[in-house]
Structures are given as structure tokens and as C-alpha cells.
């Protein structure tokens, strides 16, 4: 077990370094982008006078390195500061938005992952049969259509046509969970369709690959039926590639769904992030970037640990 602790500690230390590097890169990126927050806020109605005044007030007249140092010192102490543009506290805004995003991601993942595994196993069981072909066509179709377009199709059919579900996911704090799920039905469906394919394909491919391995042959000769072989012998050995693609999809569900948020006007973190990039609102972009990087690093850490743990050679070192 000490080995897992060591790997975990190593990975966390590495992750913290990555976060630091990410924040440097993001900060540099904002500096390189043409225009600054003062120009973006005043937009077409900017005058040199008001831009200068705004820069002075926001402290943008100071050198970039000073501003970065100040931000980093505060961020380490857990203070992300206030948004340049609307002066709201970034930590509480992000917490609020992130909760919505996590709920949406959880809803989609809870349906998508088991369904993908089930369909993947079904694909192996009836490989190249009619069931396999039909599910393959459907799930690959799902990931081939851009997710915003899939969203529009669902809106057209279920919101405008049959009027079963609302087209805009109007969620707010203190909403009963049943109402919330009803509001989130179409965005969840869209995300399920957008992620199902990757995981189903990977499950199917990884297990099919193993099905020709000698130990499966042995199991077959023992007289086990195919379903039993797949679940008890093939699946545990295919965990590593599957968990990797599952984690990547969860990562996508958390940080990459801004288009779905726009289509369904869902108040998640993606829209919050994009709005502030447009405004060059450095503290918000930094904080969101940190959250996104943390999510990816943690998910990758989990994936590594799970695949290591699933490997008996690592679990039982000789």
C-alpha cells in the first residue's frame, strides 16, 4: 500500500507544480492578447480619457510581474480577489457556478458511464451482430454531431415540438431537486449523447482485444459462458484504458461544455469563464484556469491510481 501513497504524493507534488506553471501561462496569455480589460469594458464607447482612468483604478498601470506576484500571493492564501468588471467576489461566484456545472456533469456521467459500459459489453457479446452494429451507428452518430447542434435538435423535438421539457434550463438555488432535474433534462441528454460514444467504443475495443488472449481461451475451454468470461475475466483486465477515457470524458463534462451552456442558457462555469475572457478580466480567468487545471490533474491522478490498482502485478508485487 505504501507504493500507492508514494505515487499519490508524487503526483500531488507534480500537480501543484503544474498548477503554478498553468497560472504563469494563463497570465502571460492574457498579457499577450490584444486589448485589455479597460478597453473591453468600455467597448465601442471607450475614450482615451475613460480608458486611462479605468486602468489607473484597476492598477493596470503597474508592471505585469508586480500584478502577477500580488495575485499569486493572495491566491495561495485562498483569496482570489474580486472581478475587475463587476467587483463581485470571485470565489463565491465560482463556487456557485461550479456547483451547477458539477451537478450537470454528475447527472450526465451517472447515465452516460454505466450505459456506455453496458453498451460496450453488449457490443462484445454480440460483436458484429445486428445489436452491435445498431448501437455503434447510434453512439458514433451521437459523437459525430457537434454537441450544440445535438442540443438544438433535442430542443426542436422535445421543447418546441412536443413541449415535454423546457428549452432553457432555468435553475436557481433552493430549487427542489425534482424541478432541477426536469429543467436539466435536455442538457443532460445532450451531454450523454456527446460522451457515450467515446466510452462505449473504448470499452468494446479494449475487451475485444483481450478476447483473443490465451487466458480467455483457457476460460472458454473451462466451459464458462461468454457473458461470464467477459465480466469476470476480460473486464478487470481492460479497466486501465477504459478508466482513462472515462476520466477524460468527465473532465470534458466539467470544463468543456460551454456551448451546451449557451444553447440551454445554463448558468455553469464555462459561460462565466468565456464572458470574462472576452472582457480580459485577468483575476477571473486565472481563478477559472486554476479550477479547470485542478479538475484535469485530479481526474488524471484518479485514473492513474485506479489503473495501477486494477493491475494485479502492481497490486501484488513479488
Amino acid at each position: 500500500m505504501s507504493m500507492f501513497l508514494r505515487i499519490t504524493a508524487q503526483r500531488i507534488a507534480f500537480g501543484i507544480m503544474m498548477l503554478l506553471m498553468t497560472s504563469v501561462i494563463i497570465f502571460a496569455g492574457i498579457e499577450i492578447l490584444p486589448g485589455d480589460v479597460a478597453q473591453a469594458m468600455l467597448g465601442q464607447s471607450a475614450t482615451p480619457d475613460t480608458v486611462a482612468q479605468l486602468r489607473l483604478e484597476l492598477g493596470l498601470d503597474r508592471p505585469a510581474i508586480v500584478r502577477f506576484g500580488e495575485w499569486l500571493t493572495n491566491a495561495i492564501q485562498g483569496d482570489f480577489g474580486r472581478s475587475y468588471t463587476n467587483k463581485l467576489d470571485i470565489a463565491s461566484e465560482i463556487a456557485h457556478r461550479l456547483k451547477n456545472t458539477l451537478l450537470l456533469a454528475a447527472g450526465a456521467a451517472l447515465i452516460s458511464i454505466p450505459l456506455a459500459l453496458f453498451l460496450g459489453l453488449l457490443g462484445v457479446l454480440y460483436s458484429d451482430g445486428i445489436v452491435d452494429r445498431v448501437t455503434s451507428i447510434l453512439v458514433v452518430g451521437g459523437i459525430s454531431v457537434p454537441e450544440f447542434f445535438m442540443g438544438y435538435i433535442l430542443i426542436f423535438v422535445f421543447a418546441v415540438g412536443w413541449q415535454w421539457f423546457p428549452s432553457n434550463a432555468a435553475v436557481y438555488d433552493g430549487m427542489p431537486i425534482s424541478d432541477r432535474l426536469y429543467q436539466m433534462a435536455l442538457p443532460i441528454a445532450t451531454l450523454v449523447l456527446a460522451t457515450l460514444g467515446h466510452m462505449q467504443r473504448m470499452t468494446r475495443a479494449a475487451i475485444l482485444d483481450l478476447m483473443s488472449a490465451p487466458f480467455i481461451e483457457t476460460a472458454r475451454l473451462k466451459g464458462l459462458n461468454t457473458a461470464n468470461i467477459i465480466i469476470h475475466h476480460a473486464l478487470p483486465n481492460a479497466v486501465a484504458p477504459i478508466i482513462n477515457v472515462v476520466m477524460l470524458n468527465i473532465g470534458y463534462l466539467i470544463v468543456g461544455v460551454v456551448l451546451v451552456e449557451v444553447v440551454f442558457t445554463y448558468p455553469g462555469i464555462g459561460q462565466y469563464f468565456v464572458d470574462h475572457v472576452t472582457m480580459r478580466d485577468a483575476p477571473v480567468i486565472q481563478a477559472c484556469g486554476l479550477v479547470f487545471a485542478t479538475v484535469y490533474i485530479m481526474l488524471n491522478l484518479i485514473a492513474d491510481l485506479v489503473s495501477a490498482y486494477s493491475n494485479p502485478r502492481i497490486r501484488h508485487p513479488r
Binding site: Q44, T50, T85, Y172, T265
Partner: protein, 514 residues
């Protein structure tokens, strides 16, 4: 209440109706409003509008797009409201009067108006609210609007005297601006506490705003719904499908190309409002080759405005004549010949110009909706007339800070201004902050200032005519079209007022359930 014109002829009658002035229009509109049922009180009104951002604030000094404006007129009032005929009518100011010089204005305020926090509305609040946008430290978007105010003081209880550096007969129109909302003296501008029809319950930037009716609202016949929810929906398809699926009662900024989706549906109504907003391609008049007026004229004759109106706006607008004053304005110079696509004139002016640098138009979709299409049409039309026009497509991101007013030939959009003076002063005066054509003409500047303070109506009209003529002949602006504002509502609501200036901003207090 189906207001979409079946064809252009209806639109023309609406336009001419607006032109004929208040009296005639009032007479025509009156029976329709009497026929309508008395507005009912109550209900939960849901508005879905665009122009929202997670970076929004309630501080009126920051208002830059529809969403904060629609929310602003829920919690706040301005001193002056512009009505369906673009005329200044009383809001928190009861009356106003200029002295003989036109430099000193006495504004008498409404009595017995209360802020949401119970404080009475006084002259001190007006001074405080207006000063929020003034002074060296102000970073307000409306700063330049008030730069001519020399002094602003309480001259008697309920009375404010504004002294200007130059005479201005249009001050009431300035005071109608959506940035100039009134809030209590000493208060926080971003608190959203005002005298408006609705009291803020919650404000989530870029998501939604919830308000409930101000029980003490002073304005007669307005604010009908019990509660209002203003949902941020920047995506046009999201707004349209929300309206179609019945989850919202009102949406703004509809693309004319999507109107057929709404029109056919049972009960939905469309409000099509001619406006002062216009699309422009502007040339810097001091940069070669655009410093040659014949070259500018060649470009002005090389664009087919009618085709752009029909294709980019599906006919929902009006052809422009390179003058930023809409045809319904009282000072519109109607006698200037309408410029049209004319290859002969293009060739004539090109020869005279003898310029061998090709024109390059820098354009991004953010300049105005359909900008890239319009630029490409312009390119084709110009090519047919023998004029080479390069179109350089640039990214939306950073367009306003790096391309517009930086490149010598680019595209832009103006929402228009309530008066010719505000329009010309903000973008055509030599010293104007938004003088994106670098148009510098001393005679123009002097005449503009003189017209602003002219009390004689006939002389003032002549002055504005001359100003428009100068821009028409020598300006750097190609103004192909004015766009209409298109709004839509569910069949459950009514009461929308079609004000051409600041259209749709006071929608929350206007709509009621039928």
C-alpha cells in the same frame, strides 16, 4: 396586435405616420388603444434578452448592452422618457425650461416619489446621480454625454439648475439616456435601489434577475405584473425556442431571417420598430486613399443599399443616405437625393480621384449583424462597377480596440442617438471621441454648436439641413442601412410601446397579461 408588416408598404405608412408628428399619430393610435382591454394586474412575467454577461453590474455607469438596460429601467427611472414619437416627455422631471441664452436649465422634479428604501426623491439625489458620471475620476460610459455641464446644483427644493458651457436646446433628450438613472444621495450606484417600477430581489450577472412590483410606483398605468424575471439569453436560437416553447413571454433582437418561425405560430406577436440604429462602413478622411473625396464618393456610389437592406436585413429597415439621422427625425434632411448604386458615377469619381491604392475594408461579424455578408456584397457590387475593394476579414475578439477606429476603413454599428445634435456631436465633430472618420471641418463644428443653442425652430431646421448636407457630400461614412428593432411576445401579453429611441428598454413596466 400583429405588427409585422406584410410588405414594405405598411412599413412606409408607419414611417410617414411617425414623420407627420405627434398630433396625427396620436389621433390614429388612440382608437386602437381604447379598443384594448384594461391592463390587468398580476402574473409572473418572464423576459429573455441578449447582451448579458457574467461581468455585468447594476451600476448604470457600466451599461453597455440590452440586458443591463432592461434591468436598469426596472429598478430605476431617468428624468425624461422618450415616447413613441421620439419626443421628450416627463419621467422623474415634471417640467424643464431653458433661459434665453439656452445655457441655463431649470428642471422641476416630481414630488411624492419614493425610492425603494423609503427615502423621498429630492433634488440632491439628482445632483448626486448625475455627478456619478462626471468629473475627472469618472470612468462612466456616459461621461462624454455630460461634459458640457459646467455647474449642477439644487436651486430650490425639488428643483435643479443645470448650467452649460454652450447653449443646448436638446438637454432634455440627453437626460433621457439610460445611463442617467436616479439613485439616492450617498448611495451605491451598483445597489439597484431607485424609484423604478420593480424592486430587485436577486441579480445574478449573466444568468437572471428577479424583481417584484414596487407597491409605491408613481407612474400611472404602468407596472402590471407582480414579479418579473429577466433571463440572460445571448443565443438567438435559445431565445426563439424559449418563446416558441412557451417558457418566456418576451424576447428581443430577432433576426429577420428567423421571423418566419415565429410568425406562423399561433398567438405569437412581433413588434417591428423603425429605429435610429444604423450600420456603417467608415473611411478615415485623413488617410490615403480615403483622404480623396472623389475616391470616397466613388465608394459611396459603388454600394447597392437596397440589395443590402433586402438580403442582410430581409427588408426590415430603411435605406440609408450616408447621413446618420433617421427619416422619422424632425430634422431629417428629406430633400437630399437618395444615393443609389451607380457604376457611371463610380467611374466618373474614380477617374477624377486618380488614386492607384486599392480600398481595403476590415470587417468582423461583431461590427454589426450580417457585417461580413454586407462587406462581401459591397465587394461584388464595387467590382461590377470597376472598383477594386479588398475585404479583410478579422476576428471578432478585440475588434473594437484594435481594428475599429484604428484601421482606415472598417465597419461599425451605431445605435443612433436621440437627437441629431447628440449623434453628430458624438461621432462627427472634430473633437468627438468616436469620430471614427477623422472628419475635421471647422465650419461644420461651428454650425453644429450654433444649431445646438438655436431657439428659432425654422433656422435650426435649416442648420441641421446644412450639417447633413456637408456629411452627405464630404463625410467619410458610408451608411447603407438603418435597421429596425424586432421584438416578439407570446399571445398572453400586450402593452408593448414602440418607442424608436431606446426601444424595448422599459418593456418590464409596459407588458401586462391579457
Amino acid at each position: 396586435m400583429h405588427k409585422r408588416p406584410a410588405n414594405h408598404s405598411f412599413e412606409l405608412t408607419r414611417r410617414s405616420l411617425l414623420r407627420t408628428g405627434a398630433a396625427a399619430a396620436g389621433a390614429l393610435l388612440a382608437p386602437a388603444s381604447f379598443a384594448r382591454a384594461e391592463p390587468k394586474k398580476g402574473g409572473h412575467l418572464v423576459l429573455a434578452v441578449d447582451g448579458a454577461s457574467a461581468a455585468n453590474s447594476l451600476d448604470p455607469a457600466t451599461y453597455d448592452a440590452t440586458y443591463p438596460e432592461v434591468v436598469g429601467f426596472q429598478w430605476g427611472n431617468a428624468l425624461v422618457e422618450l415616447d413613441e414619437h421620439a419626443q421628450a416627455t416627463s419621467e422623474l422631471a415634471e417640467s424643464w425650461e431653458a433661459d434665453k441664452t439656452g445655457k441655463s436649465w431649470v428642471i422641476k422634479l416630481r414630488q411624492d416619489v419614493e425610492f425603494h428604501n423609503g427615502k423621498s426623491f429630492t433634488a440632491e439625489d439628482v445632483v448626486y446621480s448625475l455627478n456619478h458620471h462626471r468629473g475627472a475620476e469618472s470612468k462612466s460610459v456616459a461621461k462624454s454625454l455630460l461634459k458640457d455641464i459646467e455647474d449642477l446644483r439644487v436651486s430650490a427644493p425639488g428643483e435643479v439648475t443645470i448650467t452649460l458651457t454652450t447653449a443646448n436646446m436638446d438637454l432634455p433628450f440627453t437626460l433621457a439616456d439610460y445611463h442617467l438613472l436616479m439613485f439616492p444621495e450617498g448611495g451605491d450606484a451598483a445597489a439597484g435601489i431607485g424609484t423604478g417600477p420593480y424592486i430587485i430581489d436577486s441579480f445574478e450577472p449573466g444568468v437572471r434577475t428577479r424583481t417584484h412590483r414596487n407597491p409605491n410606483y408613481w407612474k400611472e398605468g404602468r407596472s402590471h405584473a407582480d414579479t418579473v424575471e429577466t433571463v440572460a439569453m445571448n443565443d438567438l436560437t435559445a431565445r426563439t425556442s424559449a418563446l416558441l416553447s412557451g417558457s418566456v413571454h418576451y424576447i428581443n433582437r430577432i433576426n429577420p431571417k428567423l421571423l418566419h418561425m415565429i410568425e406562423g405560430r399561433n398567438g405569437l406577436q412581433v413588434w417591428n420598430v423603425p429605429g435610429s440604429g444604423h450600420y456603417t462602413f467608415q473611411m478615415m478622411t485623413d488617410v490615403a486613399p480615403y483622404n480623396n473625396n472623389d475616391f470616397r464618393l466613388a465608394l459611396k456610389y459603388a454600394i447597392d443599399r437596397r440589395a443590402i437592406l433586402d438580403i442582410v436585413l430581409n427588408g426590415f429597415g430603411a435605406v440609408g443616405n450616408d447621413v446618420p439621422i433617421p427619416s422619422f427625425d424632425r430634422y431629417f434632411a428629406a430633400d437630399l437625393p437618395q444615393r443609389s448604386y451607380d457604376p457611371d458615377k463610380v467611374q466618373y469619381h474614380l477617374k477624377k480621384a486618380a488614386v492607384d491604392i486599392p480600398a481595403t475594408l476590415n470587417i468582423a461579424e461583431i461590427a454589426f449583424s450580417g457585417a461580413v455578408d454586407a462587406a462581401q456584397m459591397f465587394q461584388q457590387q464595387a467590382a461590377k462597377a470597376g472598383l477594386t475593394l479588398n475585404v479583410n476579414r478579422v476576428p471578432n475578439d478585440g475588434y473594437w480596440s484594435n481594428v475599429w477606429a484604428k484601421e482606415p476603413f472598417s465597419g461599425s454599428y451605431s445605435a443612433g442617438r436621440p437627437t441629431p445634435d447628440l449623434m453628430l456631436t458624438s461621432a462627427y465633430h472634430s473633437e468627438a471621441a468616436w469620430n471614427d472618420t477623422h472628419w475635421r471641418n471647422e465650419k461644420f463644428d461651428n454650425l453644429l454648436v450654433a444649431a445646438r443653442g438655436e431657439r428659432d425652430e425654422a433656422r435650426r431646421r435649416q442648420m441641421y439641413h446644412d450639417l447633413q448636407f456637408m456629411i452627405y457630400e464630404e463625410g467619410g461614412t458610408i451608411l447603407p442601412v438603418f435597421n429596425n428593432y424586432i421584438f416578439a411576445g407570446s399571445g398572453l401579453v400586450d402593452g408593448f410601446r414602440m418607442s424608436p429611441i431606446f426601444a424595448g428598454m422599459r418593456v418590464a413596466e409596459q407588458l401586462y397579461f391579457v
